[in-house]
């Protein structure tokens, strides 16, 4: 069987790949041809290079595979990415928004950002590394010009929803979208996962968000969910 690539039926700039053995994978169009970020496979199809998007490594891909209805991140968007780590998911977001888009990558662990800076942002002009703590958004306000279209938050910390809302107050456009990856264990180990999701959505609602949907990420990620919401 030959490899084939076709656009995702719903989401612009996201692709579906059928591999030699018939397996289905997600992919994005590589903004930096010839270069991969986390060991993912590069595929050429009809003269274009794509990066296979591993749903076991990226919660956004996992959520799409689990039939997320809305993926607010689109071409030309400006995205604030909280908890970018070494850029696994953020690099796919960078592919999606494309050359005219922009991804502000906030990450406070210098260990992780080292890779992000040297191996990812160095080659992607649309990705800006910001070594700051997401809990203090005023500290990086100087680098964020204007308001952003979407905020993606995956910081695996207690009070994630609050941190996200604080950032939204400062940076998110009216009617802008957020995606929040909730890791139930990092918030309160003693609670059942679904209990935690409820609690986090409550925080978001109180801070002016309309919850669009919640998808659970099993089997890609245990005790994880992705919350998509809109800002009013």
């Amino acid at each position: 069987m030959h490899i084939s690539v076709k656009p995702h039926p719903q989401f612009p700039a996201i692709y579906q790949v059928t591999l030699e053995d018939g397996a289905q994978r997600l992919a994005t169009r590589n903004l930096t041809p010839g270069r991969n970020v986390y060991g993912e496979r590069l595929i050429r199809f009809e003269g274009v290079e794509y990066r296979v998007w591993d749903a076991f490594r990226s919660k956004l891909a996992a959520a799409i595979n689990k039939n997320l209805k809305t993926v607010p991140i689109k071409p030309n968007h400006t995205v604030l990415y909280l908890g970018a780590a070494s850029g696994t998911t953020a690099s796919h977001v960078s592919d999606i928004v494309g050359e005219k888009g922009r991804v502000y990558c906030v990450e406070f662990a210098s260990r992780a950002i080292r890779e992000l800076v040297n191996n990812v942002c160095a080659y992607r002009v649309n990705m800006l590394p910001i070594l700051e703590d997401a809990r203090f958004p005023e500290k990086y306000a100087v680098f964020v010009s204007g308001k952003v279209d979407d905020i993606y938050c995956d910081i695996a910390q207690p009070e994630q929803a609050k941190v996200l809302a604080d950032n939204a107050d400062l940076f998110l456009k009216k009617h802008g979208w957020i995606m929040l990856a909730v890791k139930s264990q990092s918030i309160d180990v003693t609670k059942e996962p679904s209990e935690v999701y409820k609690q986090e959505t409550k925080v978001l609602k109180n801070r002016g968000f309309d919850i669009e949907e919640i998808v659970h990420l099993e089997p890609y990620d245990k005790a994880h969910a992705m919350i998509v919401a809109r800002f009013y």
């Binding site: 922009r102 662990a109 260990r111 950002i113 910001i130 010009s145 204007g146 910390q157």
Partner: protein, 406 residues
Amino acid sequence: MKATIVKCSFGIFAFSEENALVEKVLFPKNPQNAAKTITKIESGKIVDEVARLIKLVKKKGYDKFVFENANLAKEAEKLGIATEVAKPSRAGELVRSNMERFAVETGFVKNVEEFNVWTHNVTMEIAKLRVKGAVEKRDLIIAQAIQTLDDLDKTINLFMSRVREWYGIHFPELDRLVDKHEAYARLILELGNRENFTVEALEKQDVPKSKSEQIAKTAEASMGADLAEADLKQIQSLCKDVLNLYQLRENMEKYLETAMEEVAPNVKAIVGALLGARLIAISGGLTNLARRPASTIQVLGAEKALFRALKSGARPPKHGIIFQHTYLHEAKKWQRGKIARALAGKLAIAARSDAFGGRYIGDDLKADLEKRLEEIREKYTEPPQVPEKKPQQEKKWRKNKRAHKR
């Protein structure tokens, strides 16, 4: 007249109270220099650019300066300038919401595309500056924090044995009835004299019903001596301080959770924040821990026993401080050596990827480890034929633990 000073990625600016631009000093168009200047300004240094701007603005008749950065305001004050702090300032918000346009209007760049490249390069340079030397120091701070936590435990234990002995003159039976130090101290602080240890009062302090009844009954029949008000007050004031120490301990623990997530998330995923921090402290830093082979990590904290074994040819200790992990102290004795080896192996990988810029692989490592544990538990359900001799070290740990739990 008041002027507001606003810093951007390409220069610093002074605005009037009507938010009109009064003066500007643009940074040289070199991202590396700009990054250095911005970092210095953030830490509150009055760099040349800032000094120049203040001079220019003063000439125009402004005599009060509003800063968004409190450090900078403090430094400016030292130079005899009247300052105020506003964060964020209106002018600052205005600039940030139209940064691209502003950059073009001030003539720093020709167009938006050029500005985007500039911002990218400056943020890159700032991130690089920050990365330099950041990890090495943070791990030493963590080492101090965990040692403080251990000191707190020792201090609390010390004070509490005093409290128990002291209050024991009045109500000796309570010592056996309330095991937890914190609960014991709180009861004395809240209830005081043993006459007040009634069922209702105890239940109000969250003591379960049957326990409350038992304590109340014992209080009534207590053999202890009476206690004067003034004597009781002294004991209570010590209890209060101990409870404050518990509060401090809790804060320190929370701090360590966050700090470890930042500095060593992989190690944290496997052994938790506290034990992970202890391993870093014993090794004298994260890099040192990461340079150790798994076999050394396995016995870290048991150096004395190890050297004794090497000298005398006795059986070496199977595990050091990692014995504190629940995997180990809940395991069957004959399985511990194998579990310790598996745990140390994963720890070595985790520490390396934390120290040398690896990715987050904590969840995978933990899943692997748990699989291996399951194998060990299944394969070695029965104790081996020849009973093992208990190593010295192990006994010591258990004793310590019991003393601590009390």
